[in-house]
Assembly symmetry: D3
Amino acid sequence: MKIQLINPNTSQAMTEKMAHAASAIALPETDIIAIQPQHGPMSIESAFDDVIAAAALLDCIAEGNQQQVDAHIIACFGDPGLDAARELSSAPVIGIAEAAFHTASLLCRRFSVVTTLSSTVPTTHHLLEHYGFRHLCANVRATDIAVLDLEQCAESVYQQLLDECWQAVHVDGAEAIVLGCAGMADMVTRLSEALPIPIIDGVSSAITLAENLVRLGLTTSKHGHYAYPKTKPFIGRYHHWNR
Amino acid sequence: MKIQLINPNTSQAMTEKMAHAASAIALPETDIIAIQPQHGPMSIESAFDDVIAAAALLDCIAEGNQQQVDAHIIACFGDPGLDAARELSSAPVIGIAEAAFHTASLLCRRFSVVTTLSSTVPTTHHLLEHYGFRHLCANVRATDIAVLDLEQCAESVYQQLLDECWQAVHVDGAEAIVLGCAGMADMVTRLSEALPIPIIDGVSSAITLAENLVRLGLTTSKHGHYAYPKTKPFIGRYHHWNR
Amino acid sequence: MKIQLINPNTSQAMTEKMAHAASAIALPETDIIAIQPQHGPMSIESAFDDVIAAAALLDCIAEGNQQQVDAHIIACFGDPGLDAARELSSAPVIGIAEAAFHTASLLCRRFSVVTTLSSTVPTTHHLLEHYGFRHLCANVRATDIAVLDLEQCAESVYQQLLDECWQAVHVDGAEAIVLGCAGMADMVTRLSEALPIPIIDGVSSAITLAENLVRLGLTTSKHGHYAYPKTKPFIGRYHHWNR
Amino acid sequence: MKIQLINPNTSQAMTEKMAHAASAIALPETDIIAIQPQHGPMSIESAFDDVIAAAALLDCIAEGNQQQVDAHIIACFGDPGLDAARELSSAPVIGIAEAAFHTASLLCRRFSVVTTLSSTVPTTHHLLEHYGFRHLCANVRATDIAVLDLEQCAESVYQQLLDECWQAVHVDGAEAIVLGCAGMADMVTRLSEALPIPIIDGVSSAITLAENLVRLGLTTSKHGHYAYPKTKPFIGRYHHWNR
Amino acid sequence: MKIQLINPNTSQAMTEKMAHAASAIALPETDIIAIQPQHGPMSIESAFDDVIAAAALLDCIAEGNQQQVDAHIIACFGDPGLDAARELSSAPVIGIAEAAFHTASLLCRRFSVVTTLSSTVPTTHHLLEHYGFRHLCANVRATDIAVLDLEQCAESVYQQLLDECWQAVHVDGAEAIVLGCAGMADMVTRLSEALPIPIIDGVSSAITLAENLVRLGLTTSKHGHYAYPKTKPFIGRYHHWNR
Amino acid sequence: MKIQLINPNTSQAMTEKMAHAASAIALPETDIIAIQPQHGPMSIESAFDDVIAAAALLDCIAEGNQQQVDAHIIACFGDPGLDAARELSSAPVIGIAEAAFHTASLLCRRFSVVTTLSSTVPTTHHLLEHYGFRHLCANVRATDIAVLDLEQCAESVYQQLLDECWQAVHVDGAEAIVLGCAGMADMVTRLSEALPIPIIDGVSSAITLAENLVRLGLTTSKHGHYAYPKTKPFIGRYHHWNR
């Protein structure tokens, strides 16, 4: 099966890192097609970035449709453009925040999210509420690691994350930890060995959930919320959506 | 004071209709600057349209900032891009759905929304939940009037709306009606005369709320959720946001 | 237009202070008619005070009706008697707590209320829940300033309020502050200059909201919750309601 | 023990009817002291009536305190003035709506309220929400029986009530019925025999709950919400509260 | 009347202690029949213990039915098997956690639960949510007293409880305290004298509530949720349920 | 990997049917170990049945632990004993109701549950609330098919189910359907072909979710809610738990 892994920011380095993590967990028969948009911000840290990235990644969804992928993954912890993507495609679309919350909810009754910039905390709270997982989340913690540092996997970054995770255990009473950033995928193993509770990564969770839906023969419902958008005139830089 | 009235779809006819309704209610000292984006869809009827329109209207917000407007209004009933717009500007930003709900909540304890396409109903429910008005909303009713018909103000459109409003009164027990589309602004007076309960229009509500905030000297909080977005590299069709 | 500003406690000094604040923000064409009941408590700091004051202020509403005012404002942060007042009049009725919450919700996603006596905190929580703003309120803080001291605008009162506001910013992560007492209206400007976030006052917010409804031609719905009360026998000290 | 049964409206006939129902269920050692205010409305059917009656019944609470009653009961289904009464007295205060909901929640997971005037329905919904019983209530049904007819126990009233109860069983799936009016107490036995599910009356429920608290030696907490009100000047018709 | 008091764990010492507390509050005409299951765990401190104890105590319910008891009480603070018991019997069934929450909600608007093992805290939160009392509960506090120590009523246990109660008052702002363990019943009087707020015990609360329902002639609704279970084959150690 | 599939009722025919459905979806490397308890009810249709079955299936969990299975599945739509099972084992435990809800929530925003006996409807509502999926569920529909008929896969059963599913589509506006009974697994394909929306089966969903957790190297958190139960004395028919 073909799974399209969309990194919604424009950093190719980040895309490659995610593709690596995704391939490590994917089934042998799964083909991971990693991609990032050719338009938009280098990183997503505000509602403004989120809106621009969402509009840009929809081009990737359309491209995936042409390639007849079996599922799409939106690999940014704010799940930008998820509902719009589900409208555009009948292949399942999974967001990595959503995927991580689902996984955590099967293993504990109280998790904390550990994320990078504090500016993304409101979005995470909004998603928890929207999906129905608010009652399981003890806290959303931000380390304020610069995304660039995260990309370079500095040892200091690992230590900051580890400290924040221990705070989650001791202060929040967290029974599991959800890593709130796609760029943390490569530290999961190390953190899992250092901490006594499950550490959950969205990218690998999303790969397995997407594979599940394909194996089960299930696709996004095209009745109601996720019906295909009506064709209509688009102008200017969105002229390519004119149909 | 200068209030920027943004029609997030690309229909200039719709912009003019709204500007007309807005001017009719605005204070003498208010200058309405009506605008629509130069990019994006002709109408907004799905999450897909919403994401594209949101990305496009942020250009208008930036333009408004350069013109030093005192407030911005997003005049589509889905309030697309509202949070992102609040990040970009310190001048207050008001969505017309939000404005209509606020107004209704001051006049009754149970209102129904009467809107056009049924594809917009989920968005309305999501907004009611997000803003905190769900407990006051009896029902969201869609008439499935084509937006083009709405634009031409056909008599049949008025009759359909009127019927749906009466349904809201008799079936839902609605004590007030919120019109769920910017394009209905010109029928408010007629509907108000025909029905025994308040009929609330988002555009005029938004104008008065925006004027209030300017008169009170209040601007969007730049601490927390609506802080200015960090500058960062943008590429491709969003290169103009590179700062 | 004529707006009746009702101070529900019996302190004329407080009424005058409010009338002053109200006139400062009102539109040129607005005539503020300030009044306080001739019966009831000197201040409102408990559910007991609230019930008595509510019964007393309904006389003011009736008086306003006779004067054909265009809107009524209940200027005590507990919004006493609001639903009953809306039944008695068709002119819109606005409570100042309600007005302040509406205003805050247009400027931020997380506000704190700073109020005087801790005995009023439960009422504030109840109102937040009732109106649907609980999710936006980070904290309700009481300074335990005596109302009399507040009336005299002592410098020490200002300092106490300012300290509490800074606590709201630093501890609660408040993005805006709602002042939870009509008697604080004269400190808004000073606090606004000292603090980096919006400071919201209920009296001025209520004036602008009341003016909006009048300008929009909207009145309280008389279907359902706010229908006129049935006439019936009243005895004793409420004999004047006998109709 | 002495239990004060307060009928908050001014109808002495209603007071006697309730006293009769109360005595039938009370323990041998319980002394029922039935009373109604000397001020206020003949019946309570709106928020307006509720506010006036609440202010009036507080005089009864004070009188009960002087008589050293062990508990107070507020015998109107809107529980008017309950919080204020709890502040004024340390003896427990029970509202009959509250009492009926508590009783119903011990016998089923889904009840309907059958009440008289439809104008009281919003109050009932508000109480269900406030107390935390909303999830157990399938429906609030109004028969629109005139209160006077109810007082005269006409056979037609019984038939209307019975029909509405059957509707609750068949349409709502009600597993129990709460009678939403103090004036229905004398029909409980007859309805209980005619219907296959529990019929719950507030007055008798309240008597037993009040007796419980007295037997358990428990009184209203005077810390926090229900602390005694501060003494302060009262003027006009409330001068007797001046302390 | 005959009330069956079921201690769901297998400690006869605990049963006797509860029976003593129950008899002290029961009406003269009430006959308390105390019992514990002949199968199951010595104490209930986890979901695992809870499931086993629930299955075991249903035998006691059946025995009570044969003895024609008028009501059953499940005297463990997790209310194990409550819904199943209500299906099996038409006589009312009361859980002691449920009973204590009902009692507390009549005396204050904010209580804390003080319990023993921290492993029981999640169950308590779940019950608060399920019954609808979450909004009234400030905190659930665990002292981690060993149940055996509790049984022996050591002075040190009393001091630990007292300290925790004071924490509830000062830190949580608790207005009343619910004791979260049937084994604490004998300390209620002492704690009540030492603390300025109501101390609520589930066993005595449950006795009075059960007596109420019997006096009111009310039994569990057999329509809907609590209908009798269908007869069907049972095998192995549950063969005695085969009917 | 070894996955233990527990049918919590004692019908071996049902176990075999489930094992068949499970094997059809499982990965090549997955070994399905299907089992049913040697004690308990032939079917689970009430809270009473649920409690007995939960106590009985815990023996299966212990047996699975000895066999070192990698995950357990509880294959009854009420998810009986799920929390207790998670305490007993460190291997992940998945309930089929939970699994089906998770799957549905990835494909639509509004699903209906179609189940057999109406007596199981309350349990389903309780689970939806407990897991956080209530906002996505339009309706829980019961067909009142006898479980025995279901076992024999009668054509009439299929027609009844199909009719109920169409009702869900047309009346509830369901965008997907969750089959609320393990015994329906063999009709999924046929229903999926007949209906235009996704049909979701709990058993196959649970298999894929359990495989995911094993592949991700994740196990149930043993901190907090799901810590191992303390060892303690058990007597009578639960003596084998004495440790």
